[in-house]
Symmetry: C2
Subunit: 322 residues, 2 copies
């Protein structure tokens, strides 16, 4: 597959106009005081399906032929991509099957089913979800919609940066959560051609630092399945398509502790009054942890808001997660 | 004191321009589906200080002479009014003293102190906070900023409806939380002269239905200190100034159960991704409970977002509050 370009992001933006929500850019005196920077939060937690994932999923399914859509689509996901494919499939008339891990957050399972998708379960520690979904696609004729390593997915996610830079054109820094790298790859395609060009940093949990390790090694490094509260950032290696884009354009990777992620969720919720899931809060975690020099104009992608209620309750009680 | 008018609300709006946040009006496909109405949420949870109370407090303190401000202001409040007076006093250079109940939510106490106010404690079940604050004002020369029963407070709060009706001019219904009645009185002054005129309903907890009882009785009825999770709606009787405005202009009072309030907080948080405190969620509770006929355009004031973390954790676990 050809690597996507900024032109693909612009095409995705046209397809998503009037379908994806143009999410608000939030500012907060409180957060500016706490971080010493001027912070602009692109709140994809308010996106349809509760996360940026809808952008890529809708764009990918809309790019299929009518016959392909009628044959259905299949996805594997611990959560937000599942919801996104389910919702996009429902809107576009494509039957959806999703492979989900048995330990997926209950709220995400319920939402995925609520959008009419059929769920197949797998064991995250022992089964290869990509292989399961690929086999299913071969057997049924359904099209696989991968979570990040696909040009249409990357192009769709890039519309997040497109909108943010339209609204705040003069960012010094942009912080983007990194799981498999679809979101940051799309954002990099946009930001690298934007003037003035912001320094784009990926942010990942210390416990799931496959991308940081890969950039240091100069090649894709696979880590064992990580344990982190940021369930959306658990992919074990960067994508084949996404990694070269990060290598070429990213300013670096910041890694944050589990406690810093929980604190970011608490601050966003209790001070800014917005619910952001742990995976979506890593950018704010990096800021609160002092990983970005103060005094800059910093864009942060809050990538999603689909927090599990019991995890959230534990965070509020300052407990270890259940 | 002369009862306030719509002209006073317009004057308050001028004073608050550039100081109070013009809060967003949120819409949600999910909420529209759940309620069968078209719902417009005026999110005062994003107001400075975390609640609409900042509007009235700032307007009231800004209306004082420089000498009065220098002598300080005093307030009594279970929470949001305290924060609002503390923040407004800080911005306007007036020293602030607040009488707070010993069982006030910890987050509200911390925020009030964070804005530089001095706190005096009282026992909500046994002491008369209004009398304590009035005595303090007499002794020190400070000006009492009452939580609701004051023309400048009512006029300030009315700017909530002014902004909402500017943005959504054709509401059929407007739902407003009722504690002492300052917010709804201000909103009624605006809505009663707006064309087309929306039907404005107050919403209060069943456990704190002093206003519903008062309207039925045709006079202000005092109830014992109520136990409700909606800590901002605990005043035991309508105000002297606010009640006649409700009698004249309100379409009625809807009352909601404690469980309906908790469910509204859950839906707003987990589905819409916004944190609204129980007092601020009663309007959505009324909608979810089916108290408003479907198919209408319904404005709802989400009055604040300063939820106590432990109460919130209990709501998320679907437990009784701690």
């Amino acid at each position: 597959m050809n690597p996507p370009t900024r032109a693909d992001v612009l095409a995705a933006a046209q397809r998503l106009a009037g379908v994806a929500r143009r999410t608000p850019v939030l500012t907060s005196r409180t957060l500016d005081q706490l971080t010493g920077s001027q912070v602009f939060l692109k709140a994809e937690s308010f996106q349809r399906g509760g996360a940026f994932k809808f952008r890529g999923a809708y764009h990918a399914i809309a790019s299929l032929t009518p016959a392909q859509r009628a044959a259905g689509v299949v996805a594997f996901s611990s959560g937000n991509h599942a919801q996104a494919v389910a919702l996009a499939g429902q809107l576009l008339g494509a039957p959806v099957t999703v492979f989900m891990p048995t330990d997926a957050p209950a709220a995400k399972v319920a939402a995925t089913q609520g959008y009419g998708a059929r769920i197949h379960w797998y064991d995250r520690q022992r089964e290869d979800r990509a292989a399961l979904a690929a086999a299913y696609a071969r057997e049924t004729g359904a099209t696989l919609i991968p979570p990040f390593d696909h040009p249409a997915i990357i192009a769709g996610q890039g519309t997040v940066a497109l909108e943010l830079l339209e609204e705040v054109p003069d960012l010094d820094v942009l912080l983007v959560p990194v799981g498999g790298g679809g979101l940051i790859a799309g954002c990099l395609l946009v930001a690298s051609e934007h003037a003035p060009r912001p320094a784009v940093f990926g942010v990942e949990p210390m416990a799931a630092d496959d991308t940081a390790r890969s950039l240091r090694a100069g090649r894709r490094v696979r880590i064992p399945p990580p344990e982190t509260i940021a369930d959306g950032l658990r992919p074990t290696e960067p994508g084949e398509l996404t990694f070269p884009i990060l290598q070429r354009f990213a300013a670096g990777i910041l890694t944050v502790s589990e406690e810093a992620i929980r604190e970011a969720v608490r601050v966003l919720l209790l001070r800014l009054k917005v619910l952001v899931e742990p995976s979506g809060a890593v950018g704010v975690a990096a800021l609160l942890a002092g990983l970005v020099p103060a005094g800059q104009r910093v864009g942060v992608v809050l990538s999603g808001g689909n927090a599990d209620p019991l995890h959230l309750a534990a965070i509020l009680r300052a407990e270890a997660p259940p």
